[in-house]
């Protein structure tokens, strides 16, 4: 019963994705090639990692706008730790991930301790973290990373890009946590009715702290992969990535009001968006046109699924 209800949006989305793939494949014979598809997977990973955790954030009724800035900050710090401080690269990576997680934790603390609405809290840290990143980098970029580092962003394992394996693993773990564990249940309860969740003995604040920290971690991981993929570090990396991630999550059927959403939905949303971007550019359509189309698809899917949802609810 509930399953069917949840799946309904995902079904629409899956059908839409298939349709998009067929149409796009007919537009360009380059589109439906293994190389192209794998390459698209590569490009999707950074947004993907962020969107998967963003799904949790949005299900609790929150939002995290600071992920792009955390990505930029961690990317810069990676260069600074390795090049300027001379730390071994693995340690620099570890520290970068730690900083990202802490940045997320700070978001969580602002939101839970000081009761600042997530939109405002993370809008503030969006500016803050980006500002720090730019201050540190002074518009210089770092290059010359060792070869082994590029495996992460450019290498392959069993014929599939390395970062796709990472995205796959994160997705799987996230889906299991959200759908099958006690903790995941708490996330939904908090999103629907925080007060009732608290009165039931759920640790609302802890759940939120964990989620915002995870969001920071995901952004940091995306930063490492990003740097490895483009072999350079710049402070404006990740600008605007939060909007792509949020779009994928919402397209995937997660309610911006909280309480509703699935990881499968987000994955479908990601695939659809990436397919549209790539297919349209192969078909020679300018990127402005692509953005318009993605916007239209977003609104259309939400309308369709609301139409189905209206019956029988409430």
């Amino acid at each position: 019963m509930t399953w069917r209800k949840l799946l309904r949006h995902e079904t629409i989305l899956a059908l839409l994705s298939v349709l998009a793939l067929i149409v796009l494949a007919s537009q360009s014979d380059k589109f439906f090639t293994v190389d192209n598809l794998l390459n698209q997977g590569r490009l999707m990973t950074e947004v993907g990692l962020i969107a998967i955790i963003m799904t949790f954030v949005i299900i609790t009724g929150g939002i995290d706008l600071s992920v792009g800035s955390i990505l930029g900050l961690v990317a810069i710090l990676l260069g600074v730790f390795w090049k300027n401080l001379g730390l071994p690269l693995p340690i620099a990576i570890g520290l970068g991930l730690l900083v990202g997680t802490l940045a997320g934790l700070i978001n969580g603390i602002i939101i839970t301790r000081f009761r600042v609405p997530p939109l405002i809290a993370t809008l503030g840290t969006l500016a803050l973290y980006r500002g720090i990143a730019e201050g540190i980098s002074e518009a210089r970029s770092v290059r010359g990373y060792p070869d082994w580092f590029f495996v992460l962003g450019q290498g392959q394992f069993l014929g599939v890009p390395v970062q796709l394996w990472i995205l796959g693993a994160v997705t799987l773990v996230a889906a299991i946590i959200l759908g099958m564990t006690v903790w995941g249940r708490g996330v939904y309860a908090v999103g629907h009715n925080e007060t009732a969740a608290r009165y039931s003995g759920l640790q609302v604040d802890r759940i939120k702290l964990a989620i915002y920290s995870a969001s920071g971690f995901a952004a940091a991981l995306a930063a490492v992969i990003f740097v490895s993929r483009v072999s350079t570090t710049r402070s404006d990396m990740g600008t605007g990535i939060e909007l792509d991630a949020i779009t994928a999550v919402v397209l995937g059927g997660t309610s911006i009001f909280g309480g509703r959403g699935t990881i499968i939905g987000t994955v479908l949303g990601l695939i659809l968006i990436q397919a549209l971007k790539n297919g349209l550019s192969l078909a020679g359509i300018k990127s402005d046109g692509t953005i318009v189309l993605i916007g239209a698809v977003l609104i259309l899917t939400i309308l369709l699924s609301n139409l189905f949802h209206r019956n029988g609810n409430r």
Binding site: M1, V182, R185, A189, H192, A197, S200
Partner: protein, 504 residues
């Protein structure tokens, strides 16, 4: 005789489930027409069809002031002068009282902008006409007590110049004194010629107010009668389809050692210096007017608003309770006053709600055991007689009384040692009420210690072994069962300041 509103052969089906069957119903000007029936009988559904929330199945007819409709919409209802106070309050917590009252039909200045001062003045007048002089029109609705929120709802309905006023269990959340005030208002409206549909589970109220009464059972119309032609017994028999054995089935208590001892407990100035003991197997009733601090006391013991002074002892050990989680882990359960906000996650299923405070019982440490969760819910459904399609039904789709039973089931699932119930039978029909009372008696006999906060004096007197009376945030009397009467308890509830000790 003219009628304001008439329904002929109205049915309603939800997902293949026929919850109203060919119902006829009408309202005349200047009458109070009571609508009665068990939880889930279809009263609220009928009301929502009249007010345009639900469209009925094809075939029925609704006639409002001479115009025929197949289905109402909120717009045609408003045009027909139909206003509704719903069972589940629908106010906006972030808006002020005045804004809530005039939402959607706010008075405007000649320039077309909102006329705030007129809005506040008219809001004031409306509240005064409800004898609510103490309610501030600028207060945020979210900060009000349930009783006050109810008054705002009523003022909101009145502000639309209703010719038909529908009230779905308006007094469920009110204390006796407030019920009196409301009944005066209802009578005044009747004199003005308003037709009132009045849903209630409280028989005395119905007999005092109603001119006619209609009974539904399982969605079918059992009958419409002038009030003079029915008695309490015949009415209950019509609703339940059987006789109810005993109103307050209280087994011989089996009172043991002290489990909870509270000394000088305070929370700011809302709970002041309260001391009491609670024993194994005892039902401690807490009586008091709305705003006397009963709920605040419960919230402090349960860790929502941790105590600012005083001590709590559990089994002789002094503990400090700073969160609901901690209280729960200590074996304390709290069935809250506001089920929609605090008790339930309405968009989730019965199973998900029942397990919410007892998740440890339906996991293997990490993963949910979905089958165990379903059977936990099935247990609660059977134990409390929840009327539902099954454990996976969304709680928001249940009737009000059945939602209340889900909250109860959720906390019983934690196997508490101390059960604090805040208005446990609010909105529950006569039959189910005596079942819940029987269950309380049984739980107490099995050794549970129960604190029962109730605005219904008969319930307190009928079930409690001892009554703690609160007034102005502090306890003014502790009266044991033998001495508890409407007079002694009632006097203590309204007498301010002095402490009466009547327990031996």
């Amino acid at each position: 005789m003219t009628v304001l509103l008439e329904l002929r052969g109205v049915s309603k089906t939800f997902a293949g489930n026929r919850v109203l069957k060919d119902v006829d119903f009408d309202v005349r000007p200047g009458e109070v027409h009571a609508l009665m029936g068990e939880n889930g009988a279809g009263k609220s559904t009928l009301i929502k069809i009249i007010s345009g929330v639900h469209a009925p199945d094809d075939g029925g007819i609704i006639r409002v002031a001479g115009t025929e409709y197949k289905a109402m919409t909120s717009r045609t209802a408003a045009r027909g002068g139909i206003a509704t106070v719903y069972q589940e309050l629908l106010l906006f917590p972030e808006l002020s009282v005045a804004e809530n009252i005039f939402l959607g039909h706010a008075p405007r200045t000649p320039l077309g902008s909102l006329d705030w001062s007129l809005m506040r003045r008219r809001g004031r007048q409306l509240l005064d006409s409800l004898d609510s002089h103490d309610l501030d029109v600028d207060a945020k609705v979210g900060t009000l007590s349930v009783a006050n929120r109810q008054r705002v709802e009523i003022a909101k309905a009145l502000s639309q110049n209703a010719r038909v006023l529908i009230m779905d269990e308006p007094t469920a959340a009110l204390a006796d004194a407030d019920v009196r005030r409301l009944m005066v208002v209802v009578k005044r409206l009747r004199e003005r010629g308003v037709g009132i549909i009045y849903v209630s589970h409280k028989l005395p109220e119905v007999f005092e107010l109603a001119d006619r009464v209609t009974v539904l059972r399982d969605g079918a119309l059992i009958g419409t009668n002038p009030i003079a032609e029915v008695t309490e017994q015949s009415l209950v028999a019509m609703m339940v389809g059987r006789d109810i054995a005993q109103l307050f089935p209280k087994p011989v208590p089996n009172i043991g050692e002290v489990v909870l001892r509270v000394k000088g407990l305070s929370f700011g100035d809302r709970v002041r210096n309260i001391s009491f003991e609670l024993r194994r197997g005892e039902i401690l009733g807490i009586a008091g007017l709305v705003g006397s601090g009963r709920t605040e006391l419960a919230l402090t013991v349960f860790g929502i608003t941790p105590a600012t002074a005083g001590t709590i002892e559990l089994d002789g050990r002094t503990i400090s309770i700073t969160s609901p989680r901690q209280a729960r882990d200590l074996g304390i359960a709290y069935v809250p006053e506001d089920r929609g906000l605090q008790g339930l996650v309405r968009p989730m299923s019965i199973a998900q709600n029942v397990s919410m405070a007892a998740l440890h019982r339906v996991t293997n440490g990490l993963f949910m055991r979905f089958a165990a969760e379903i059977s936990l819910a099935a247990e609660a459904i059977a134990r409390l007689g929840i009327r539902t399609r099954g454990p996976e039904q969304i709680v928001g789709q249940l009737s009000g009384g059945n939602q209340q039973k889900v909250v109860l089931g959720k906390w019983l699932a934690t196997n508490p040692r101390i059960l604090i119930m805040d208005e446990p039978t609010r909105g529950i029909d006569v039959g189910a009420k005596s079942e819940i009372h029987a269950l309380m008696g049984k739980l107490a006999q099995e050794g549970m210690a129960i604190v029962m906060i109730s605005s219904e004096l008969p319930e307190v007197l009928g079930m409690a072994d001892r009554v703690l009376v609160m007034n102005g945030g502090t306890s003014v009397a502790t009266i044991d069962r033998a001495n508890a009467s409407p007079e002694t308890v009632g006097a203590a509830m309204t007498l301010a300041g002095q402490s009466v000790e009547m327990a031996q």
